[in-house]
Amino acid sequence: MKTVIDVRDLHKDYVMGDTIVHALDGVTTEIYEGDFVAIMGPSGSGKSTFMNAVGCLDRPSSGDYFLNGEEVSAMGDVELAQIRNKYIGFVFQTFNLLPRTSALKNVELPLMYAGTKGRSERAKGAIELVGLTDRMHHKPNELSGGQQQRVAIARAIVNDPVLILADEPTGNLDTRTSHEIMALFQELNDQGKTIIIVTHEAEIAQHCRRVIRFRDGRIEKDEVVDDQVNAIDALAALGPAPR
């Protein structure tokens, strides 16, 4: 199996006043292609710091990080921007869509920074994949939370990244919509996408294949989910959608 993420002895220290906080205190792990990982842990456990390091949004204090076989821990700002653009698709808790900008234009954004030709066609393809073709000319404030998150997922996959990083993607959504979004992630995972989700809801983690638990900047537990919940079944269990 191909290794997408390979981190070795990752450290991240913050200076807070006169104490040093070890947000990451020697994290070593590997994540393989096609994996679907939930990162869990109490706040302050280092899971967000880990995500930011993996997403190349922040640099570790020490340790090695190989993404798709490339050593990113030694890269400069411009290279990191290209890595984020090419290899990683981000999904945020607050969606982070550009306001007053249509769904289609939002999805085109990573393609714009990649300098891809035929952007509109590819963006339309990604929007179709998340099932929002009929809403692609709507602006974010004209879409529901679930629809906005779908647009954000379309934006995350449009550049065909090796890794999708989702930070509390269902944190702002109700149960039904959360299941819908998880169903979409499962579908993408079935198609072979590697996905990492940060969550503190055990129920959400149950949709994944593997759970990594953080505590005090270290990996506390790393286990395979035996009874993975199928989001479509979970949706059905909720009963028919209210009108």
Partner: protein, 405 residues
């Protein structure tokens, strides 16, 4: 990320905050508009002065009595030191003078029927039509030298006088008017010249010199002033010094002070040009200050915009934007705002020029170099004042920017 992408991002950002963008642009609009309007009005004033000089006649030299000597004296012909023999001497000794006449001028009330009008009556040789560039007639003709010899009471009216007495439509030729209660026959009306001010060439009445001397004023050999025309404009300074030399022989006071002063048109021309240049510089200076203030306004708003959009910057960086693409986006935003402000400023400045020019009755001049200068300056203002906020935006770390609340 192409230039076009940065450009459309900038446009979108400007459109997204219409009111704020408009207020930001206002500084540049006013700056550019005032540069254009002020330079335009300065140029218009200059053009107007030159035109006025032109309608007063070309290559002119005038000699006036030196009034400074007699303190408190009012300027009337009876104290004048200029006499008939001065005109004769100039005619004789300065061949570069083409036309010359002594002028007896006096304030006069002219009447026709129930209409009356206060104007200047000028006794002058018929050659005044050459000197004052007044050959083009609305109707009739100038009086002749024969009229002058016979001291005929004939009059030529300036356009304004004709309008006041005859309503501007009636036939004036052959009509008998009263000038200071003496009957004169109107023989000609000079075409409209478009003058203004206290020496308005349209507001004059001309009668033969001798008629004025013997029948209107009684000033038989003193002139209010002498005016003449040189053969060419380059010769004006030479002619002036010749005239000064000729008159200097006889017209000096006991203390050796000259009792006359000589003016030539080239001097007035130069004075107008110096004055208008000074005026232009002053106005452009004032306008530049408003452009500068506009630029500071742009910087202010762009800094606010960068802070406000920190999260957007973080997102763009997460999606793969490099520092330079963020830089170019924000820089273009301020440049585009300045250019738009500049374009609006040019239009408004043009309109303001027309409006003010109309108000002051000067020709509207829209100087293309002022337009280019103002526009270029606006772009530079956008670039200069946009750089700092754009650099700040581009240097934000993605994680800090994303976390910003």
């Amino acid at each position: 990320m192409t230039f076009w992408d940065s450009f459309s991002s900038a446009l979108r950002a400007i459109r997204a905050n219409k009111l704020r963008s408009a207020l930001t642009m206002l500084g540049v609009v006013i700056g550019v508009g005032s540069v254009i309007a002020m330079v335009g009005i300065g140029e218009g004033t200059k053009k107007k002065s030159l035109q006025e000089l032109e309608i007063m006649g070309s290559n002119r030299i005038s000699v006036v009595p030196n009034w400074r000597r007699g303190r408190g004296h009012s300027a009337t012909a009876n104290q004048s030191t200029l006499r008939l023999e001065d005109v004769e001497a100039i005619k004789r000794e300065v061949p570069l003078v083409k036309n010359i006449t002594g002028i007896v001028r006096r304030g006069a009330t002219v009447k026709f029927g129930a209409n009356n009008h206060r104007t200047n009556a000028n006794g002058a040789h018929p050659s005044i039509q050459e000197i004052e560039n007044a050959k083009k007639m609305h109707s009739g003709e100038w009086y002749t030298y024969e009229d002058e010899e016979l001291m005929n009471k004939k009059a030529v009216l300036g356009w304004l006088v004709y309008e006041e007495l005859f309503g501007g439509t009636q036939n004036a030729l052959g009509a008998i008017i009263k000038i200071n209660n003496q009957n004169f026959e109107v023989v000609g009306v000079v075409d409209y010249k478009g003058g203004s001010g206290w020496m308005n060439p349209d507001d004059q009445v001309y009668v033969p010199l001798k008629t004025a001397q013997y029948r209107l004023t009684g000033q038989k050999d003193r002139f209010s002033y002498i005016t003449m025309q040189a053969t060419s404009s380059e010769l004006l300074p030479i002619v002036q010094s010749d005239v000064e030399a000729v008159l200097g022989k006889t017209r000096k006071s006991a203390t050796g002070e000259e009792l006359f002063r000589v003016f030539n048109q080239a001097e007035s021309l130069e004075a107008i040009q110096t004055q208008s240049k000074l005026l232009s510089y002053l106005l452009a200076g004032i306008a530049s200050v408003s452009l500068l203030v506009g630029g500071i306004g742009i910087m202010n708003i762009m800094l606010v915009s960068v802070t406000e959009r920190t999260k957007e910057i973080g997102l763009r960086k997460a999606l793969g934007a490099t520092g330079s693409s963020i830089l170019s986006q924000f820089l273009l935003e301020s440049i585009v705002m300045c250019i738009m402000g500049g374009l609006i400023g040019i239009i408004l400045g043009g309109a303001a020029t027309r409006f003010v020019a109309n108000m002051f009755k000067v020709p509207p001049v829209i100087n293309s170099s002022a337009v280019m200068l103002a526009f270029g300056f606006a772009t530079i203002v956008g670039l200069f004042f946009g750089i700092y906020p754009a650099v700040r935006a581009s240097r934000l770390q993605p994680i800090d920017a994303l976390r910003y609340e």
